[in-house]
């Protein structure tokens, strides 16, 4: 922790010569009477991406973004401003603007700083430096030639390698003082195959809070390429998807996006404080079959959605949302926790210094059950087996959610049949969970590809689940 703080201070505060004393004063002025809470959030982010297409390294890009966000809250009101220069005058100006949410201004003493001890979930070294530039482009070249050689039906392969290194420092008027260093890497591979005039696409990728060495271990990058090709070839055989309500078996891993949409968003504190979530007022009540225990856990080492501390300085936690079917907890940031008379659950997250923290998910998944996955498939007379998905969306008020399959099969008499074309599945959050009749023993997280959007802010998240049987879900096929 002290190492992290030192590194972060050097990156964020030292260039402009900002001292703790100065920042203390800014917060003191910010947190006058009628202000319940105020905070400063310093952030710098360095990210790069390398792309390969048509067998050549087409481009590389490097992005730097630095700034400070200033927030003051009074009751339900929030004043927010930011500056993309980390210098004293810009900081004071932003503080003045944020403070204008309440009219009176005079300063008040604030809590003494106490350093928030976060977790130690990931490397603190800069992943951008974990391979040389030559090695980064080499990796892409090698994976490309490997996959191109594997099947002549490939007419296009596009690969990208991305990494970012972020440092953050948050100081709150409640005395919280925390810092974090957040690495994140990602590799994507997409291929287009053509056979008898039919073109189909396949995609795979993964990553997390690692450095690039992660992709070299066990030839992980090559496995993703195999997976993208397998996916594309499978689509060449896909038949029309059925239409209507039917039994759906969801595979383990990324299909957990179901939980993210059907349950997760509806349990974020802001919607529940306002009473506009389908789950509002249902704490302690049964909202799912007793086979379902769902958590949001920000403390998994290296996971894409993990954080040592959240963006308000609160250490992340393993929060139980639904326990054996009973609604147990909401996900809270400081603002909604304060207004609801609860404590933050370490779910206060923001896209960057230029956006306000909201209650958000981290890694959301269902705990494993008793059934073997084969047994679950064998139990279905007629339905579909959905293995992979694109994105999803939810209306937290009505509870309606959708997610679209990218790999799915017919199930006939307990056996997996022909692959089907992509179809959107639609359901109602609480209904769907009561229809979960079997839970597999094969919990898996996704490979590290999730990005969640809310109010225009995108943040990295993970999802996961064991294989699930849902007795009825509407499948939006064409047949």
């Amino acid at each position: 922790m002290s190492d992290i703080l030192q590194t972060v201070r050097k990156d964020l505060l030292d260039p402009a010569g900002l001292t703790d004393n100065q920042l203390h004063k800014v917060i003191q002025q910010l947190a006058g009477p009628h202000i319940d809470y105020a905070d400063l959030y310093f952030q710098s982010s360095y990210s790069e991406s390398w792309t390969l297409e048509d067998n050549i390294i087409k481009g590389g890009s490097f992005d730097i973004d630095r700034g400070v966000g200033v927030r003051a809250m009074s009751g339900e009101k929030t004043g927010f401003a930011y500056a993309d220069d980390i210098v004293m005058p810009a900081l004071e100006q932003a503080a003045h603007a944020a403070r204008s949410i309440v009219k009176q201004s005079s300063s008040q003493s604030i809590q003494a700083w106490h350093k928030e001890k976060g977790h130690d979930l990931y490397t603190v070294s800069n992943p951008l430096h974990s391979l040389t530039e030559t090695d980064k482009v080499d990796l892409l070249q090698k994976v490309n030639s490997y996959i191109r050689k594997k099947d002549p039906r490939i007419i296009q392969a596009a690969l990208s390698l991305m990494g970012s290194y972020e440092t953050i420092l948050v100081m709150g008027s409640d005395g919280h003082f925390g810092a974090d260093i957040r690495p994140l890497v990602r590799i994507n591979i997409s291929v287009i195959v053509e056979q008898n005039g039919r073109r189909e696409t396949g995609y795979a990728g993964g990553g997390g809070r690692f450095d690039y060495q992660h992709f070299l271990m066990d030839d992980l990058a090559f496995h993703y390429a195999d997976e993208a090709l397998r996916h594309a070839l499978l689509n060449l055989e896909a038949v029309e998807a059925p239409a209507g309500a039917m039994t759906v078996v969801l595979a383990s891993g990324w299909p957990g996006v179901l939980l993210h949409e059907a349950v997760g968003h509806g349990l974020e504190g802001d919607f529940n404080r306002k009473g506009i979530s389908i789950y509002s007022g249902r704490m302690g009540k049964k909202v799912a079959s007793e086979l379902c225990t769902i958590v949001d856990n920000g403390t998994l080492p290296h996971a894409r959605g993990s954080l040592n501390i959240d963006d308000e300085g609160t250490p992340t936690q393993d929060n139980v949302l639904i326990e054996n079917g009973i609604l147990r907890g909401y996900m809270l940031d400081k603002r909604n926790a304060r207004l609801m008379g609860l404590r933050s659950t370490g779910n206060g997250r923001r896209e960057s210094y230029a956006s306000v923290p909201l209650p958000r998910m981290t890694n959301t998944y269902m705990l494993p059950g008793q059934s073997a996955p084969e047994e679950i498939i064998a139990s279905v007379k007629s339905g579909i087996y959905a293995v992979n998905f694109g994105g999803g969306q939810v209306d937290i008020t009505s509870g309606k959610f959708v997610f679209s399959t990218s790999e799915a099969y017919l199930i006939e008499n307990g056996k997996i049949g022909a692959p089907v074309k992509g179809a959107t599945l639609i359901g109602n959050g609480p209904d769907v969970l009561t229809k979960v009749s079997m839970v597999g023993n094969d919990l898996k997280l996704d490979t590290g590809v999730g990005t969640c959007g809310k109010e225009g802010q995108n943040i990295p998240v993970s999802v996961g689940q064991p294989t699930l049987r849902v007795d009825e879900l509407t499948v939006g096929g064409t047949k």
């Binding site: 490097f62 927010f80 993309d84 030559t134 053509e194 506009i276 694109g390 959708v402 639609i426």
Partner: protein
């Protein structure tokens, strides 16, 4: 607002910075370079429960630089305009370029394509409104919406936002151009409750000129009506039926076309419209053309992202695909010429019929009116289409009841050919301008 104006850098200042960056690139040995700088400032206020909820002040600047060493390219973006920061950025871009391959299609747009004499478009109409006044309007909007119907339990948020910006692009072929713009929004999101059911809907107005914004009362009333009308929504039985996309959702339907004819999708063979030039895509009564120089329009731009002249391209003429939407890179990949669409299309407009929405419903007689779409189940490589929807069931040309938790599915190729009518109720709130669209038949999945 006056403070905001003062703080925006002037075009002359941005031009100076861009010149410095291009000179730096040349000094580092780059054979060509380009830079775009976008800055904006504004604020957003939201109201909830009769009081202000948030006041957010926005100010952003972003500099994007591409450097070329022959046909090798490196890119960088930063938010800091100071000389030491831009110098370091140029250096980083030059470093990156060393590790990329020579790409025969890469480089600046051809000099003869550049908009050296670009038109001055009327796109900037600052809103002289204080934060206090905006708060008062947002509160008024929420209160009027709640007063409309007792079932409206909560305004999730009413929003007023205003932004002023400036965009500049310059390259080492001697082009330098800029244009200022403004954008203002009024939005209202509501929740209505009846027994155990809750529904959420919204309405908004957006314009470059505050005078063209819909009144607060109208936004509040529309949002309230829409939300209350959602109450009592049920599912449908799985069936085949005609579908009308309400104008605001029809925009997305044409958005898939706009995306599928983009050069990047075509040269990658990632579109169902590869090799479809001069082929019939739509019925012959449909044409699609862009209008990049319209005054006060949100999608207007005097030049594209590479400084190329924007023009009134006709993409679909009497149902036939006449042109892809190309930037200079995808044009070179395809052996064609840029169409001034680097960065996208500008005010893509469909030929509309003369029927109102009510008349379209009569024409359809029995079927589904789609007013809400969910998810993104569209595969542009194959044209396969499957999305979650909400809306209304129509019989005898009249709305019968709201529907939800259903999907509609088909293939874009067949859906486009199956368009029977385009309504006169054009929605001007986006970069694609269309009325409501009636499609002959789609698969609806429900109970």
């Amino acid at each position: 607002m006056n403070q905001i104006k003062k703080a925006l850098l002037t075009p002359a200042e941005l031009e100076q910075i861009s010149k410095r960056i291009l000179a730096d690139a040349s000094q580092h040995g780059a054979s060509a370079a380009e830079v775009s700088i976008s800055t904006n400032k504004g604020f957003t206020v939201t109201a909830h429960d009769g009081d202000v909820e948030t006041v957010e002040y926005n100010q952003d600047k972003i500099v994007e630089i591409n450097v070329y060493f022959g046909q090798r390219r490196g890119s960088v973006s930063i938010s800091d305009l100071r000389a030491e920061a831009t110098q370091a950025a140029v250096q980083a871009a030059c470093h990156i370029a060393k590790f990329t391959d020579a790409d025969p299609a890469s480089g600046l747009a051809e000099k003869e394509e550049l908009a050296f004499h670009y038109p001055q478009l009327d796109l900037t109409f600052p809103w002289d409104i204080s934060v206090e006044k905006a708060i008062a309007l947002a509160i008024q909007c929420e209160q009027e919406a709640r007063a409309y119907d007792s079932r409206i339990m909560s305004a999730e948020a009413s929003t007023i936002s205003t932004v002023e910006g400036l965009h500049l692009y310059a390259n080492t072929n001697g082009f330098s151009g800029f244009f200022p713009f403004t954008k203002h929004d009024i939005g209202c999101v509501l929740v209505a409750k009846q027994n155990d059911e809750m529904q959420r809907d919204y309405s908004y107005s957006v314009a470059t000129d505050p005078k063209q914004l819909t009144s607060i009362s109208t936004v509040a009333k529309q949002a309230a009506e829409r939300t209350v009308n959602r109450l009592g929504a049920r599912r449908l039985r799985t069936c085949k039926a005609p579908v009308i996309y309400l104008a605001e959702e029809a925009r997305g339907l044409l958005g898939h076309l706009a995306s599928a004819i983009t050069g990047g999708k075509i040269y990658r063979k990632a579109s169902f419209l590869v090799d479809h030039l001069d082929k019939q895509i739509f019925p012959s009564f449909i044409s699609l053309q862009e209008h990049p120089h319209l005054a006060c329009a949100l999608g207007s731009a005097p030049f594209d992202n590479e400084g190329v002249v924007t023009r009134s391209n006709v993409f679909i003429e009497k149902g036939v695909l006449r042109s892809y939407a190309l930037g200079s890179y995808s044009a070179r990949k395809l052996g064609m010429k840029t169409t001034g669409n680097s960065g996208g299309m500008h005010n893509l407009t469909i030929t509309t019929g003369n029927k109102t929405l009510a008349e379209l419903l009569k024409t359809m007689d029995k079927g589904l009116l789609v007013t809400e779409m969910m998810g993104n189940g569209v595969n542009l490589v194959t044209g396969d289409y499957s999305r979650g929807v909400g809306g209304f069931w129509v019989e005898k040309g009249e709305i019968q009841f709201p529907v939800q938790e259903i999907t509609i599915a088909g293939k874009l190729q067949e859906m486009y050919k199956g368009i029977r009518e385009v309504g006169s109720d054009v929605d001007l709130r986006g970069n694609i301008r269309t009325g409501s669209i009636l499609i002959e038949e789609m698969m609806i999945a429900g109970e």
